[in-house]
């Protein structure tokens, strides 16, 4: 049990800090939320800068253009980039944090050579085509079907909630290749280019009023068989690998960003004047801030445990489900506290940065956190996973 960083890890952190110190001031202002062309340029441009400086794919093998270092250095990378306010991974989320890691473990050498370096250079946006209108929590019941026709799968069906579907170049796509087999045994994991004929993407507006996710329709889309990752009908197992990354370590910069937000909230509380004192003088508010900090510190410690497990075994452990479940609830409490502090200021969504009146993006954040207990498996499903897979309680069905 050792949280000390090695001399090498410390040197890595120092170099990274120096580099960030040089490059961040040259970036300019982030693009408007609804300008997708500019957003793509911004996210991919940042990824390219990381690549050129040797900071892309920290824990990806060097043969694919990664840095080939440990999950711990990846953790340090996320910590420093978040702390110094570098751009968030944005639309590179799927490629960097779960599609890429899945390909590293499961794909063929050709697939790896084709996609992994391109992901690292910021040349490919990926999306995740798992959920369907009738297969959300019960993902294994998905019905988008793929019929083998020579060297191709012919895919027909519909996906939904596909984040960044309208800007993506590739999709990690789950399809049904065997209609007769039990539901978990007839699924296949495919790499689907999003520009194939027969794909139609329709953005969906979220509660926050933006279009972060889409419906994707497939009408006899021909996907080469060579795009299959893992065996035919073995896609459920591959999807579980994807989930272990998505739930295990993909939330690290989220958590760090949230800690920054809590510090801003404390600042805000000290500045908000009411009845001759400040919000900070309110015992309940101040203690809740201390309490939230204790919980975030604990989640950060839990993250380090999950990363240490990944370091030992190559995959994040089941602590990821615990993290996601707990984090969603704590973050909702923080958003509620912001509202209690802001009082009538909570009526207004900040444009751009925000100020003391509106509390930065805290009002928008209260909307965003609603998705934390839904996306990547709802909290109810996480509780089933913990109850059944970790605690060994009997399955429902």
């Amino acid at each position: 049990m050792d949280i000390r960083f090695s001399a090498e890890e410390i040197a890595f952190r120092d170099e990274l800090r120096d580099w960030l110190g040089e490059v961040l001031p040259t970036l300019g202002d982030p693009p408007d939320r609804d300008d997708w062309t500019a957003r793509r340029e911004w996210d991919m441009g940042w990824q390219r800068k990381l690549y050129d400086a040797g900071y892309a794919g920290i824990n990806w093998p060097s043969e694919f253009g990664g840095r080939g270092s440990t999950p711990t250095e990846h953790l340090i990378f996320l910590e420093e980039t978040t702390r110094m306010g570098a751009p968030y991974v944005g639309m590179n989320f799927v490629a960097q944090l779960h599609a890429g890691p899945t390909l590293i473990l499961e794909a063929t050498a050709e697939q790896q050579a084709r996609h992994l370096p391109a992901m690292l250079k910021g040349e490919e946006v990926w999306c995740q085509g798992f959920s369907e209108p009738n297969a959300g929590s019960d993902l294994a019941s998905l019905s988008t079907r793929a019929i083998r026709d020579g060297d191709h799968y012919v895919v027909t069906g519909q996906k939904i909630w596909t984040s960044f579907g309208h800007v993506a170049d590739y999709c990690e796509l789950l399809v049904r290749t065997d209609q007769e087999a039990p539901k978990h045994r007839g699924i296949t994991w495919l790499i689907c280019p999003m520009d194939l004929p027969g794909i139609e993407v329709r953005p969906i507006t979220t509660v926050a009023g933006s279009s972060e996710f889409c419906e994707v329709f497939f009408d006899e889309v021909r996907i080469p068989v060579e795009n299959r990752v893992g065996d035919e009908n073995d896609g459920w197992r591959v999807a579980m690998v994807t989930f272990s990354f998505e739930r295990g370590t993909a939330f690290i910069s989220e958590l760090l960003g949230t800690m920054n937000q809590l510090a801003e909230m404390a600042e805000l509380a000290r500045g908000i004047r009411r009845n001759g004192s400040t919000a900070w003088d309110d015992d309940e508010i101040r203690r809740e801030i201390g309490h939230l900090q204790a919980e975030y510190d604990a989640l950060w410690a839990l993250t380090k445990r999950v990363v240490s497990q990944a370091q030992r075994t190559g995959m994040p452990g089941p602590g990821g489900s615990v993290f996601k479940l707990y984090y969603a609830e704590v973050k909702k409490r923080m958003a509620d506290l912001a509202h209690r502090m802001l009082e009538r200021g909570a009526l207004v969504l900040a444009e751009g940065g925000g100020d003391e009146q509106t509390g930065g993006d805290m009002v928008a954040s209260r909307l965003y956190v609603l998705s934390l207990s839904i996306a990547a498996g709802t909290s109810e499903i996480q509780r089933n996973i913990i109850g059944e897979r970790i605690l060994g309680l009997p399955k429902e069905r």
Binding site: R4, H291, Q293, K304, S308, Y326, R383, I386, L391, L393
Partner: protein, 311 residues
Amino acid sequence: MDFELTDDQVALCDGIRDLCQGRFDIDTVRGLADCGGVDRQLWGELVDTGVFSLVVPEEDGGVGLGWAEAGLVFEQLGRALVPGPLVGTLLAAGVTDDAVVGLIERTDGSALVEYPDVLDALLVLDGDGVWRVDAAELSFELAQSVDPLTPVGRVAELPQGEEVGGCYGWVNRAVFLCSALQVGLATGARELAVAYAQERQQFGKPIGQFQAVKHKCADMYSREEVARAALYYASCVLDAPELADEDRAVSGARILAAEAADHNGKDCVQVHGGMGFTWEIDAHLYLKRAWALTPCFGSLDEHAERIAAMV
């Protein structure tokens, strides 16, 4: 960085768990209520195993391990509901030669003292230092304790005692050890609830198949794991104080461990239904011990304040 347990640490946990299962089975533990919480013979086995001399350097006759190991051992003791003034006795090792030592903070003249019948000495912390009060000087009246395994005496006038050291670091270490016991209690309560959820049948199936019960068990596990991460982190900081702020790490572990033990104790009662409200089922013992340990060395509000001041 490798935040997982080393092989030695895993072996240490297993060893203490085996000791607890062999010598402190639940009937034995319950029986200790009749002798003030400590049986000298059994206590001697804890002493011989090195439970209290864990952090004493080897050249001084101790085991020479760190707070990480002390936390792991105390977690196992909490999980097994082992009673007695464990925290005081560990901290006193190397300071006094007493075998059974209580520890409290001096507030005003009067005090509540845990395990008063069995102490050799009571150590008292105050702003000036650490003071040893010989058990013979303590006059107390037994009070009705919330926890049958934490007898409490009411002391009208706490003697000053003799100074035995400066109190730097004592409070944090005491808070840390209480937290470790409570993480263990949270685990014990969760294990008991899960076992019952697997075995008890209603409506023709195990109650653990109902989500209301299954999800409660999942929440118990999550709380416990998050608290455990905070505890391990605090232990690493106590072992290497240059790494991070000790107060913040310890207070954080304190809040999460106390809440995990409290909530898991309550949920354990709930999962047992009517049985949960009986003396016979152990659920109440976890909850009561959690409650007995929470008001030690600062309230949770004080710990939250301590952290808030650093945000």
